[in-house]
């Protein structure tokens, strides 16, 4: 019965995540209305047949803005995960290959240092220096992701280095670099994919938070976080402005989390019995 729950997680999660991914892709070619066009005559319309999610204080269609906002959120989160993977994984592999060396110590201590800065503080510093923008949000969340992947990679790689088949590869004369690439990396790929999904969903939350406080994507690029910020003063008479972007964030993150849980159980059947 429990494995049924996990398969359900995977299905619900991937459906939810796919809906928003497709919305983001479709928004490149088509949205019901133009999100940059102001239409004051139709401002603050409640949801209806013409405007499915209603309109905002400039008369822009909320549904269209959510579609384009999905693009911003997903793009920022994906690139930030990419930065974390591309820098964090090689660092972790290196630290594990030359474990207990000065290099290992240096990498791990730098990780600790980055961990002392919550993503928001990194974003605040970057914004203070370069001004706000989506790229700065990406960099801030990306930097935060680096130690996450570096630690995970090092930990998993360390336990693999003690395995017999790695010893065999070493006796065959393979160098640490090749072993890391050919034997360690493929074996921790599942772990990285699962963590990647989790960081992806955290990235969406972080992006929303940053744009909410004005440190993320700037107007006129629609973003879910800024839509919420703009809706705040109108929440008493136009609550739909706040409801739809919020649900978009909630459902995307929920979908990714369920998908990640489902994937983890798919990759590691042992966990199914333990039922976390």
């Amino acid at each position: 019965m429990e494995s049924g729950i996990f398969r359900r997680n995977l299905v619900i999660g991937s459906v939810l995540a796919l809906v928003f991914l497709i919305a983001a892709i479709v928004s490149f070619f088509w949205t019901p209305y133009d999100v940059t066009q102001l239409d004051i005559a139709n401002k603050l319309k409640k949801p209806n047949a013409e405007y499915w999610f209603g309109t905002d204080h400039f008369g822009r269609d909320i549904f269209s803005m959510i579609m384009v906002g999905a693009r911003t959120s997903i793009a920022v989160a994906i690139v930030a995960v990419g930065i974390g993977l591309l820098i964090g994984v090689p660092l972790g592999l290196t630290a594990a290959a030359w474990r207990h060396s000065l290099l290992d110590e240096l990498i791990m201590r730098s990780n600790d240092l980055v961990f002392a800065f919550p993503a928001l503080l990194i974003a605040i510093m970057i914004t203070a220096v370069f001004g706000p923008g989506a790229v700065n949000a990406i960099i801030a969340i990306g930097i935060f992701n680096i130690p996450v992947f570096a630690r995970l990679t090092r930990g998993a790689a360390l336990s693999l280095w003690t395995r017999d088949y790695i010893l065999a590869a070493r006796t065959a004369g393979k160098k640490s670099f090749r072993i890391s690439l050919e034997h360690i990396l493929p074996n921790i790929l599942n772990l990285l994919i699962v963590q990647g999904t989790i960081q992806f969903s955290l990235g969406i939350l972080a992006e929303a938070g940053l744009s909410y406080v004005g440190l993320g994507a700037q107007p006129p690029v629609p973003s879910w976080g800024r839509m919420l910020a703009e809706s705040q003063t109108m929440i008493s008479f136009a609550p739909h402005l706040a409801l739809f972007p919020g649900f978009a964030i909630l459902l995307t993150v929920l979908g990714l989390n369920l998908f990640g849980d489902g994937l983890r159980d798919l990759f590691d059947p042992r966990l199914r019995r333990e039922s976390r």
Partner: protein
Amino acid sequence: MIRYVLKRLLSLIATLVVASVVIFVAIEVVPGDPASYMLGLNAAPDTVQALRDELGLNASKVTRYVNWVSGMLSGDFGTSYTYRTPVSEMITERIGISGPLAIYALLLSTLIAFPAGIIAATRRGSVADVSIMGATQLGVAIPNFWFAMLLVLFFSIQLRWFSAGGFPGWDQGLLAGLKALTLPAVALALPQASILARVMRSSLLDTLGEDFIRTARAKGLTTRQTLWRHALRNALIPVLTIIGLQFSFLLAGAIIIENVFFLPGLGRLIFQAISQRDLIVVESVVMLLVFAVVLVTFLVDVAYAVVDPRLRAR
């Protein structure tokens, strides 16, 4: 034990030193001169020079770094470029809101998470377990500032139980202050409580499967006695770590939540400072927050060593 604490203390200091250099260098590369910014475009060059002297901006970068750090150590955070008041005064005033908010949220999340996690673990597979786990899935996925807005919509606008924002000041009485911080604290606590409840549940499930629990049951203790005397104490170790780790998220979260409720805390201060390019304030608040995060991590490590002697050997 003392050796372990000293070692951790050294690494704490090293982290703080490097962090302060990173922050200083990052903020120093900002183009633009604070003195000319403060005086406006039409300021006479010698006035700007005089102000640069007064602010200590003419000294070398190394001297300025040393001045900044030694100033902070003695409680002098410099003078705000915009308000011309000591930064330490501004920070003290704001901490009076952000600090209690963070602690309030921490208490709430612990109060929610512990019973929820314990019920879910001890009644594994029951309706209660499934509902609690479902609720935590939602709690983890909900953006806390949006949840805060929903709280305002419901409790302030519909029911009119709480004010929608602002802070009356502690001089209006403890109760008035706590009331103003209640909705923000609930919003901050929810995601944290969800994560904590999940950790509590899985940690307790692990512990309940251990041999010493079976022994306790075998010697005749009831389920309840086993739970309170043996299982909980052991299950708490990972939970404590998570509480420590989450502190940094809590601080960052507080900065955002303060914006929803227009609370004049550190968060508002830092965003105002960014928009006014009051970099000395940004620099000092960021350093202070990093210090708080590193300090909590240190305290958790030490608490860990007190609870679990095996860790001291590392």
